[in-house]
């Protein structure tokens, strides 16, 4: 009896070992493709199919429960399709009809073009929905990972996002962004209020309600509050609002403007613009608003600071040569160098998480305002958008997506795209939306 048991154990360990090294290999491939794509301009993504969710319990399920199953599947599909490394494979019904296929197996999915397949199985214990996901390599027809997520049915959206997060984590080793939040400004009458929503635009909720103009939101590092500029007290000054309680406090009200806040990677400093000297200068503030240091000294407009991921450098825009261009300096305000030379108007830089690139608003010969990307050495300038006036770029916490506002479809709305410019999506449909920012991982 002992021998088979130990044999069994060895077998399990072997299988597990194989599974993990296999998963690791998949991971390395997937992880590196994306950033290489940006460099080469070559689009290579991993294709993933998500099968319809199956009920595996032994009771009758009602209409509501099957709606939950379909809704969760839709969320998972949307997330997978959104993710920069993945492309969702759609079920080709013609193919199924021709071959009289009722249930697609991994081989079938491979024929549809899927490298990987996600299978979802549902149970309904009590008020909950429990979903087991299985991940298959279609070429090998082999399951290489699985997991279970269980939540109250009312949180079906969150449940779908959690499954997608686990799939992304399994395949890339990185944290999924599907449970992150976004904040943006929306015009209501003459007021401009801040709103918070899920990363995909769902579950929108009004954050500020002061009837004033509120702009330039940016999350604190812990994701629990948002810094922003507001005209609540008359002049545009810096405020901070707690997301949970909705309580807003004044952070800094120096004479003139206090604007364009950017929180340092360690969360201990805020780079922002003050005009107390009679002109826009970049300052470092403590999170409570106390001045640490003035960084720029120039009678031109210096604005829109952004931090390098190591917290040592700040990129910003300045019109010291006549038109706004992007510059980099260190956090002592020294070692200034100009980065952008192409285009007549380069502004609102954001620093990529890998530290190697800046994305910014660029007005090129087309006279549009596009989003463009450049290496921090000042080389490899690329335009990422091709239509409308595009503004306010911000990175997703994984550094692979950019959120921005655009009037390309008429009214100004919030959009996202991959950092390569692919996969452009519209998140809001109200119009009059601007100033988006992306929160950290929960």
């Amino acid at each position: 009896m002992r021998l088979p048991a130990s044999l069994m154990l060895t077998f399990i360990i072997t299988v597990m070992g194989f599974t993990s090294s296999f998963a690791q290999a998949q991971r390395d491939v997937v992880r590196n493709i994306f950033f290489d794509t940006l460099r080469t301009g070559d689009v290579r993504v991993t294709t993933v199919g998500v099968d319809d969710m199956k009920y595996i319990g032994n009771q009758y399920i009602n209409q509501d429960d099957s709606t939950y199953m379909n809704s969760v599947t839709a969320v998972v599909r949307r997330d997978v399709d959104f993710y920069a490394d993945f492309e969702l494979v759609l079920v080709d019904s013609f193919y199924l009809e021709v071959y009289e296929i009722i249930d697609l197996d991994p081989l079938g999915w491979m024929r549809l073009g899927a490298d990987y397949l996600v299978k979802l199985e549902a149970e309904f214990p009590g008020r909950n929905l429990r979903v087991r996901w299985r991940l298959f390599d279609t070429a090998r027809r082999q399951q290489f990972a699985k997991g279970t997520v269980e939540m109250d049915k009312v949180h079906w959206r969150q449940l779908g996002h959690e499954i997608a997060n686990e799939i992304v984590h399994t395949m890339t080793g990185e944290d999924g962004i599907f449970l992150t939040k976004i904040v943006y400004a929306r015009k209501i009458g003459s007021a401009k209020e801040l709103f918070i929503a899920d990363y995909d635009g769902a579950n929108e909720r009004q954050l500020t309600n002061n009837g004033s103009i509120n702009i330039s939101p940016t999350f604190s590092r812990d994701g629990k509050s948002v810094f922003y500029t507001s005209y609540t007290g008359g002049d545009p000054h810096l405020y901070r609002i707690n997301i949970e309680s909705g309580q807003a406090v004044l952070v800094a009200d120096y004479p003139g403007i206090v604007a364009a806040p950017a929180v340092s990677p360690d969360g201990n400093k805020i780079a922002c613009v003050l005009t107390r000297d009679g002109n826009s200068e970049i300052y470092l503030l403590e999170p409570n608003g106390k001045i640490i240091k003035r960084l720029t000294r120039h009678r031109a407009i210096d604005t829109a600071p952004t931090w390098s991921p190591d917290g040592q450098l700040i990129a910003f825009s300045s019109d010291r040569t006549g038109r706004p261009q992007v510059y980099i300096m260190d956090i002592l305000g020294l070692n200034l160098r100009r980065i952008t030379w192409e285009g007549s108007y380069n502004d609102s830089p954001i620093w990529s998480q890998r530290g190697d690139r800046l994305t910014f608003v660029s007005r090129s010969r087309s006279r549009r305002f596009d989003l463009a990307s450049i290496d921090t050495s000042g080389t490899d300038y690329r335009v990422l958008t091709e239509v409308g006036m595009n503004e306010n770029p911000h990175f997703s916490p994984d550094g692979k997506h950019i959120i921005f506002s655009s009037d390309r479809l008429g009214p100004r709305d919030i959009f996202t795209m991959d950092i390569s410019g692919r996969n452009q999506r519209r998140l809001t449909r109200h119009g009059r939306c601007s100033n988006p920012t992306w929160g950290p991982l929960p």
Binding site: S190, K192, I213, I215, S216, T229, G234, D235, P236, G256, I257, A259, A260, V273, T275, G278, N279, S280, I301, T303, A304, S317, D319, R323, P324, Y345, D347, S348, V361, F369, M389, E391, N392, D407, S434, N435
Partner: protein
């Protein structure tokens, strides 16, 4: 007794006379002390009591100030902007108690943050010009609305030109 009565009558008359004379003097002085344009200040201070019938006082309508316009991404004052500011200067000179706020605005092109700074530069250029002409600096404050308050929400050159402006708001008078 008669004498005493006569004295009393003369005394009363004298008192009545002094009272009437002093009253007459008061009436003459009264209109001189409060100059017409400080009247609002007095009214302000005595808000709880019902104000006396308001004397005719010249007030300045905000709409009499001329709005000035700018070129794209510029804050320098064009010649038409200068003549508008000269006109506004005359208003400020004629109404020395008027305190104004200059609002700087931009068109929708360019970013929120940059335009916020640009709008302030425009307002400051107008403020500096007026102070240069002799207006006391503390009578003019400035604020920038960047591109947040367009007067024309169109997306044409025409709309943009209208939105690149400085407006005058009366804070008090």
């Amino acid at each position: 007794m008669k004498r005493f009565g006569l004295l009393a009558v003369i005394g009363l008359l004298a008192i009545a006379l002094t009272i009437s004379v002093s009253c007459g003097k008061k009436k003459e002085i009264a209109p001189e002390t409060p100059p017409v344009d400080t009247m609002p200040v007095i009214i302000k201070d005595t808000t709880p009591t019902p104000p006396p019938p308001p004397p005719p006082k010249p007030t300045l309508k905000e709409s009499r100030f001329q709005t000035i316009n700018f070129d794209f991404d510029k804050f320098n004052l064009r010649s038409d902007a200068r003549s508008s500011l000269d006109f506004n200067y005359n208003l400020l000179r004629d109404f020395p108690d008027v305190i104004v706020k200059i609002e700087g605005h931009c068109d929708e092109r360019g970013t929120v943050e940059y335009n916020l700074s640009l709008g302030e530069k425009r307002a400051k250029a107008a403020q500096d010009y007026l102070v240069g002409l002799g207006v006391t600096a503390n009578r003019i404050s400035i604020i920038s609305y960047g591109k947040e308050r367009p007067i024309d929400t169109g997306h044409t050159e025409d709309a943009w030109a209208k939105n690149r402006r400085c407006e005058f708001r009366i804070v008090s008078q």
